[in-house]
Amino acid sequence: MAIKLPIYMDNHATTPVDPRVVEAMQPYFTEKFGNAASRNHEFGWVAEEAVENARGQIAKLINATPKEIIFTSGATESTNLAIKGAAEMYREKGNHIITQVTEHKATLDTCKRLEKYGYEVTYLPVQKDGRINLDELCKAITPKTILISIMYANNEIGVVQPIAEIGKIAKEKGVFFHVDAVQAVGKIPVDVQKDGIDLMSISGHKIYGPKGVGALYVRRKNPRVQLSAQIDGGGHERGMRSGTLNVTGIIGLGKACEICQNEMAAESEKLRKLRDRLTESIMSRLDETFINGSMEHRLPHNINISFAFVEGESLLMGINDIAVSSGSACTSATLEPSYVLKALGVGEDLAHTSIRFGIGRFNTPEEVDYVADRVVETVQRLRELSPLYEMAKEGVDVSKMTWQVSAEH
């Protein structure tokens, strides 16, 4: 089969919408365009029925009840609503929140804002494998702690946190537990009952649904979680999130969840094989390559590799017919290499050389082989160009050298 270029292998950033999802959404743009909140005519009822159907599809995938699903504009909004909404609602109980350092910015920046408003936030470190230490979590909990927010799986390194154990600890201590499950839902089994989750952020476009739609799971019993609304208006979504529902987006999210429900077991096995094939093909042909994060506790479709002595952006430039992303500073405006890799204790030199591969539903073995070949040949070419590789081969320990940043005398 001929390979169509460029190849998309950045499925942690976003995913293409599954054609079956598009098909489900289609009629709701033109014929069935009603406002789901219109209670007195057919157009409204049809839209409402479709929204409720989607609510059921999402709930089923995560073992919740439909009433526990609140629709939002995406997971960033869900996370903002969960953390700020709980912080505001339970202010009298306490002002302490616990999270961890490799969270998505939606969580970290929300917590930072709350710090400005007088909340206290503990940012737990992660171990070398990318997971938090449960003893440290237990020690961090105080009588003032109202919320623990830990992601299910990391967006850069795919490392899965011990969610069920954290859920158990949270329950014992009477602290609410929010989970950013954007990268995990639809990819690995997520069960809000077994995992003891009280609040959970979900995104549409990471699971082959449309962009601009997400959901927040809000537990209704054992315990019942209440949130202060962050957007005021018509009182939609049990008063927690006002605004006319994005009916087409919601239908797309629902359908995407239904497909994941039916196909996840087989799909994750397929993706794991492709991921292992990619990893093996690259690592068997190159020396000085390192996997970042735990392999044992990891999403099946993720791999993150550091290619020592080759800077990430120049590597991406060499494989410009492949869409992946780099942990190097040069790819972003911040000039700092990936904070996730730094938190794992990966040196800044190696963090600059990392590439994240996110394999998706539509990738083929032929594409994986092509990507592996291109990566290997480009790394080899750039290492020929790399003074660091040359020095390492001569036996110089590059990490122990003193570097002069400017040569001016």
Binding site: E313, S314, S328, A329, P337, L385, S399, W403, H409
Partner: protein, 142 residues
């Protein structure tokens, strides 16, 4: 990030990649940058001590495409120039030639630093060599 055609061209066909014998008294070596910053450049030049003309230049660079292009261009430019002419190359010349965006200006600065470091090393070696042969040092001071 969009690269200029010239950066892409240098990245795809880097000029003068390689190493010269760093023990050769006529070879100056400049190694600038740091791995933690994501850029390391090694620039080497072989200078004729009589004419002070740079006869050969080689580079190796760890860094983004703009860093590779800046150092590749630097080797092209210094070849055939005298030491003084090479020292007159400014990072802004490199920025202009490669159409580097503001976030990549540090790459051109590093290339200028590498030229200066290599020629400083060469001058030092010349001074040492001349000192050893007990001749008055003429070109060694800096």
């Amino acid at each position: 990030m969009a690269y200029s055609d010239k950066v892409i061209e240098h990245y795809n066909n880097p000029r003068n990649v390689g190493s010269l014998d760093k023990k050769d008294p006529n070879v100056g070596t400049g190694l600038v940058g740091a791995p933690e910053c994501g850029d390391v450049m090694k620039l080497q030049m072989k200078v004729n001590p009589d004419t002070r003309i740079i006869e050969e230049a080689k580079f190796k660079t760890f860094g983004c495409g703009s860093a590779i292009a800046s150092s590749s261009l630097a080797t092209e430019w210094v070849k055939g120039k005298t030491v003084e002419e090479a020292l007159a190359i400014k990072n802004t010349d490199i920025v202009r030639e490669l159409s580097l965006p503001p976030v990549k200006i540090h790459c051109s600065v590093l290339a200028e630093d590498a030229i200066k470091a290599a020629l400083t090393d060469w001058k030092k070696k010349q001074g040492d060599a001349e000192a050893k042969s007990a001749e008055p040092a003429t070109a060694a001071s800096h």
